[in-house]
């Protein structure tokens, strides 16, 4: 048992922190978010140059061989900076699938360009009816000679509008919610039969509703084995859950810091509002929530890095906690900022919205608590 970060992890954390501090202020973030692309292509190339897009991939794939700990230190800083670049969708989710099951040729075609910063990809995980059940897949893929014909609808696909590559789980056998019978397909974002309705999300990111109508792909588009996609999805979503939780911890800490600072400067009744005990105790509760969430983040990241038998449970514990404590911290930060907290031009509002969005991803607090109650 050892709680210290190694040199590489510390350097990674420092370099992301420095980048955020020097090159990613709130005004720039807002500008990137409001652009047609929804993020900065220039910043994304910078991520690739700095090697951040290579973090989770193996050295064989020209990656950095990073694991949950590296992801954790980086995502926390992304949270602090409220980064809108699609790292989660592109590197963690789509990259996570490719890293696990893509063939050598498929990796050359899709994974290497992702690492190089040249390809945007998305995992079309959600369907309008599926909520948080990964096995609930209505989209179908039927064999058609040497090809597959894909039909169905995917919803709220992060980075789906920009993606040159869509990874589409589709049902190749079984009933709507069967564990077996889900196959992962690589589909071009502009392929015939793909129509996309892209839109911004409340947290300043982008997503898309995607319709697939008789989309034809070859056998070389099958990622991993036919009918065997669910366990890959589960592993990737576990990783993605850890990543958004780390981001959330960064956001929670930033909101708490900013609220404490604001309460020292905001004068009402002739004194800083931070001198009121009623508010002090609430800020202590915010701090405690951050510390507790961070502790679970450490536990879950280590349990997954070490592959202990608590790995899966730890993710649910963490996501449940982030869902409840994060909501509390977010609401309190807004409340203590008063009118400023509900102003579009003040950053606290946008931290709150991202935290709220994270709360709904990959299983909300109730869903994860249910996993733990069994």
């Amino acid at each position: 048992m050892d709680f210290s970060f190694n040199e590489v992890q510390t350097m990674l954390s420092d370099s992301v922190e420095k980048f955020i501090a020097n090159e990613y202020d709130f005004e720039s973030r807002q500008k990137y978010s409001a652009s047609a692309l929804g993020y900065s292509a220039e910043v994304w190339m910078k991520f690739a140059e700095l090697g951040w897009t290579a973090i989770p991939f193996s050295e064989d794939d020209d990656g950095f061989d990073g694991g949950p700990i590296e992801s954790m230190v980086m995502m926390q800083q992304f949270g602090r900076g409220l980064v809108v670049e699609p790292y989660l969708a592109n590197v963690v989710m789509a990259g996570g699938i490719l890293r696990r099951v893509a063939s050598k040729a498929q990796k050359m075609k899709w994974l290497h360009p992702i690492i190089a910063g040249e390809l945007q990809a998305a995992l079309a995980l959600v369907e309008p009816q599926s909520r948080y059940e990964l096995a609930d897949v209505m989209t179908t893929a039927e064999a058609d000679g040497d090809n597959w014909l894909i039909n169905g609808q995917k919803g709220v696909v992060f980075n789906g509008g920009n993606a040159g590559l869509l990874i589409v789980p589709a049902r190749t056998s079984g009933d709507r919610t069967s564990m077996d019978g889900i196959t992962l397909f690589a589909v071009g974002g502009m392929a015939d039969g793909v129509s996309r309705h892209r839109y911004p999300t409340v947290d300043g990111h982008q997503a898309a509703e995607i319709h697939l109508r008789n989309v034809s792909v070859g056998n070389d588009a099958v990622l991993g084995n036919v009918d065997d996609g669910l366990s890959t999805l589960e592993a990737v979503i576990g990783e993605a859950t850890l990543a958004v939780c780390a981001e959330a911890v960064g956001i929670m800490r930033t909101m708490t810091d900013k609220t404490v600072e604001y309460s020292k400067n905001r004068v009402q009744f002739g004194v800083p509002i931070g001198s009121f005990q009623a508010l002090q105790h609430r800020m202590v509760d915010m701090l405690t929530a951050c510390e507790q969430s961070y502790s679970l983040l450490l536990w879950a990241s280590m349990a997954n890095a070490d592959g202990t038998d608590e790995a899966r449970r730890s993710i649910s514990a963490l996501k449940y906690h982030i869902g409840t404590a994060g909501q509390k911290v977010g609401q309190e930060a807004v409340q203590l900022h008063g009118g400023m907290g509900v102003s579009w031009d003040v950053d606290i509002a946008h931290y709150f919205k991202r935290l709220t969005a994270i709360g709904q991803m990959f299983g909300n607090a109730d869903w994860h608590l249910d996993q733990l109650a069994d």
Binding site: Q9, K264, H321
Partner: protein, 400 residues
Amino acid sequence: MHVTFSDKELAFRDEVRAFFRDEMPEGIAKKQRQGVPLDRDDYIRFQKALYEKGWFGYNWPVEYGGTGWSVVQKFIFLTEMAQADAPVIIPFGLGMVGPVIYTFGTEEQKQRFLPDILASNVWWCQGYSEPGSGSDLASLKTRADRAGDYYIVNGTKTWTTLGQHADWIFCLVRTSTEVARRQEGISFLLIDMKTPGISVTPIITIEGDHEINEIHFEDVKVPVENLVGEEGKGWTYGKVLLEHERTGTAGVARTKYRLQKLREQAGRAIRGATPLSNDRNFMRKLAATEVELKALEFTELRTLAAVASGKAPGPESSILKFKGTELQQATDELYVEAAGYYALPYVPDQYVLDFPDADRVGEGAETKSSLRYFNFRKASIYGGSNEIQKNIVAKHVLGL
């Protein structure tokens, strides 16, 4: 960064586990199993067994007879102690006055007091609160007036836990009123409970037990060599002690054990009822408490790791105190809920050794759940109430 134990740590765990399994003094495990309250002698025998093993000073530096263990070793030790359902260590000597003496005491005081603390030859109690000074501790009025080589102590200390068993008491007393701040002019005195002029009055707590006391001092003569550190600086020493106390009161290992037992119990059909594990509401509350406790376990480990790297337990220990006690109390509530109607019978007399099962009301220690629940309302009040802890964090951590 690793959550798993190294081979060395695993070997240490096995050694500790074996000790608590095989070397507990006669009869103690049985009392614990049956929910029979331990007496003074039981605690001393238990602590002496640890002392003879060389483990009682688990939290002390080697130079004062402690183990000098790493954070992980201490964690393993406390975890195994709880998992074996061993008694708790009485904190007043080992956890409180001991560290104050080895940090601020004279060489002579260290030699005089520390060995007896380690060997559990002397039972200490704590003289902080007074009838008029609870959360506002600095308003304390017990006086110690210098007269030659003695202080003459007058006043009343209260809420003194297990003071009826104590040989010695450590007290915060006022040695001067001519001060700019009330925190000045307070001194830290060690007082032999056998000194003439001391009397002990029991206070019966909510669940009906005699656990705490009022201690009266009437012209009690205390030699000046029993002053720890400088006269008038007692507040500083007392605060250090409280920080140690708070780090210890989180009780994570113990609560973890109790939640595990509760989960096991929830899976059983008691009196033919549907197992509680079928009750979604209950299981969700249980799971939520487990999550918060797991978080606290790592918050504590992080705090202790910081302490091990040279930092004193600072105001962050306040978070451990209020969070840890909240979770103790949440666990007590779950036990009461699990007992249902059988939380009602007030039958403390059946918690004696080998009470016949045929005469027992309720299963096992079921009827004790509410008594424990009532008793542990104290946890968010003692050691500086949880509201005071939040004041401390607001001031010293958040800088408000």
